[in-house]
């Protein structure tokens, strides 16, 4: 008797130790792969997420106290910055790349268009320190936070004592970003066979075309294969952005960029790493008529993609089924009150 109860206790402890984060805070959607982020090294709690969310919306992270993460990653546009091609930072200096939409980051292996960042916890260091973005550094940020009673309280609630450190600050920001999961689009509901949801004829045709022309790179269910590819954009000689090669220093990575997810794509214009396309029509024109050939062009795009104008509009109808209103309007993700 004693033995069995001991056994059950041990089992329970083992289960608790290995289980994924609290379901109410983070849930792996049905039929999705296991997240890449190691939650055991930064276990989610309500208090830490709230601290991270507060930091995300607070311009205290920037040198001039004017720019917050949300200045470039707004919740209403899938956390990207829509009005500007290239994101604006402090003193209105223009960054060299378009801010990507932030969602489903727990499944992402690397970050930035060229994968320069290999871990979500290290991500916030880049904008905090970049002279064109927030122009500060993490040691100064920690100093500023330490002086604020509001943060002393929030750190104490999250970590048990009011010590502010770089590690705690960055991990809290990660916690908030990890909770940005978008999995409730019409596409998802159709896949889950929820009653009352089915594709229209145009969407269904678009889905088939998408699977045969686009899904090798924009693979379901996350709509990215997490690889770097050259999708045939003609290099912009002013920006001269060499992409993945900057990180790997390999000639074979020239002009390759991370394949972005297409979820909520309807709202995250302008498109591509430099924001060169204003709308989805232009993107489809690119794929059907405008592929720039070069040594590193993906083999999947060497053969011309033939799309009639009806095909293109069907694909766009399908892409719009990836919009997730409940994600864009989720107050849990918004400015903390």
């Amino acid at each position: 008797m004693k033995k069995t109860s001991l056994f059950f206790c041990l089992m329970l402890i083992a289960l608790l130790a290995f289980k994924l984060p609290d379901e109410s805070l983070f849930k792996v959607p049905e039929n999705w792969p296991k997240p890449h982020y190691d939650f055991s090294k930064n276990p989610l709690t309500k208090e830490k997420i709230f601290l991270g969310r507060t930091l995300f919306y607070d311009p205290i992270l920037s040198a001039d106290n004017c720019v917050s993460c949300s200045s470039c990653h707004s919740p209403f546009t899938a956390f990207t910055h829509t009005d500007h091609t290239l994101s604006h930072g402090i003193e209105d200096r223009i960054g060299t790349r378009n801010s990507p939409a932030l969602m489903n980051l727990a499944w992402q292996k690397s970050f930035m268009w060229d994968g320069a960042i290999h871990h979500l916890d290290a991500q916030a260091l880049a904008p905090i320190s970049h002279p064109d973005e927030m122009g500060s550094n993490i040691a100064d940020v920690v100093n500023r936070l330490q002086k604020k009673n509001r943060y002393k309280k929030l750190f104490a609630q999250a970590y048990g004592d009011s010590l502010v450190s770089g590690e705690r600050t960055l991990k809290a920001i990660s916690q908030f970003m990890l909770t940005l999961v978008s999995s409730n689009s019409k596409y998802d509901k159709v896949q889950r066979k929820e009653p009352g949801f089915s594709f229209t004829e145009a969407e269904a045709k678009g889905y088939e075309l998408f699977k045969s022309n686009c899904a090798v790179c924009h693979a379901e269910p996350l709509f990215t294969n997490n690889e770097y590819e050259n999708n045939g954009l003609e290099p912009d000689t002013n920006l001269n952005d060499i992409g993945r090669k900057k990180i790997s220093q390999k000639e074979s990575d020239l002009y390759k960029f991370k394949v972005p997810s297409l979820r909520n794509i309807e709202f995250s214009y302008p498109y591509m790493h430099d924001g060169r396309y204003q709308n989805l029509e232009m993107v489809l024109f690119h794929y059907s008529n405008n592929i720039f050939d070069s040594k590193t062009l993906s083999k999947h795009l060497k053969k011309k993609i033939q799309l009639s104008s009806e095909d293109k509009s069907n694909i766009i109808s399908f892409l719009k089924t990836l919009s997730d209103e409940s994600f864009l309007r989720n107050n849990q993700n918004g400015f903390p009150r």
């Binding site: 190691d38 090294k41 930064n42 320069a116 960042i117 290999h118 871990h119 979500l120 916890d121 290290a122 260091l125 880049a126 905090i128 320190s129 970049h130 550094n137 993490i138 040691a139 920690v142 450190s165 770089g166 590690e167 705690r168 960055l170 991990k171 990180i247 220093q249």
Partner: protein, 225 residues
């Protein structure tokens, strides 16, 4: 009253008495040839006419292990030490083991790959120490900055940030030093030897993982004795 005082005395004596099983201390001694090295002091390399004034030198020692006749006798847990030549307190530290018998110390200069890809950590590894690259992930293993009359930079400055956690630019180096067991082991770090190979004239700055960073890291590993 008296009893309390006697108890207090006993307590004091107990605290002041040397403990059995003295802790094992390591101390890093920066040297310039035969001299004690100082930051901000102007040095000359005898072989060339280069002058060097070093304002900052910071690096990581990690994965400290003690060996006796080639057998591991001690491995430090969570072994990461940020050494800052401008902060003498950072130059010595004690290991947790007592009365260790050993004839060899092995350690890494820098941070290994698996720690590098495990995200952000605290303590000496906290990025507030300025030893983490921001525009591209990864720890900076070794940083040296200063001035030299041979530098081509306008201000005569140089700065070398060595690091890189992935092949082909993996920079972490293991060193092994023969020593004898002693409660305080000194490790000399010869800066004259290190700077003698810096490409001060052609490349006064290295700020990212590269072939040159790997080459200099290997050279760095030979400067400890």
């Amino acid at each position: 009253m008296k009893i309390k005082f006697i108890l207090f005395l006993f307590g004091l004596i107990y605290i002041l008495l040397p403990k059995k099983g003295a802790a094992q201390n390591l101390r890093l001694k920066p040297i310039w040839g035969n001299d004690v090295f100082q930051t901000e002091k102007k040095y000359f390399l005898s072989t060339k006419n280069d002058s060097f004034q070093i304002s900052l030198c910071k690096f990581y020692l990690s994965e400290i292990e003690l060996y006796k006749k080639g057998n591991l006798v001690y491995k430090e847990d969570n072994s990461f030490h940020l050494i800052n030549l401008n902060d003498c307190l950072s130059l010595s530290f004690s290991l947790k083991g007592n009365d260790l018998q050993f004839d060899e110390i092995r350690m890494n200069i820098g941070i290994d790959s698996s720690t590098n890809v495990s995200g952000i950590m605290g303590g000496d590894l906290d990025p507030i120490h300025g030893m983490y690259w921001t525009w591209q992930s990864g720890y900076i293993n070794f940083k040296i900055e200063g001035k030299s009359n041979s530098s081509k930079n306008k201000t005569g400055s140089f700065s070398y940030h060595l690091g890189g956690y992935a092949e082909p630019f993996l920079c972490v180096q293991q060193i092994s030093l023969k020593t004898s067991s002693s409660p305080l082991v000194n490790i000399n770090f010869d800066l004259a030897k290190f700077v003698s190979l810096l490409p001060i004239q052609t490349k006064p700055e290295i700020m990212s993982p590269s072939e040159m960073a790997v080459m200099l890291s290997k050279h760095l590993a030979t400067c400890f004795k």
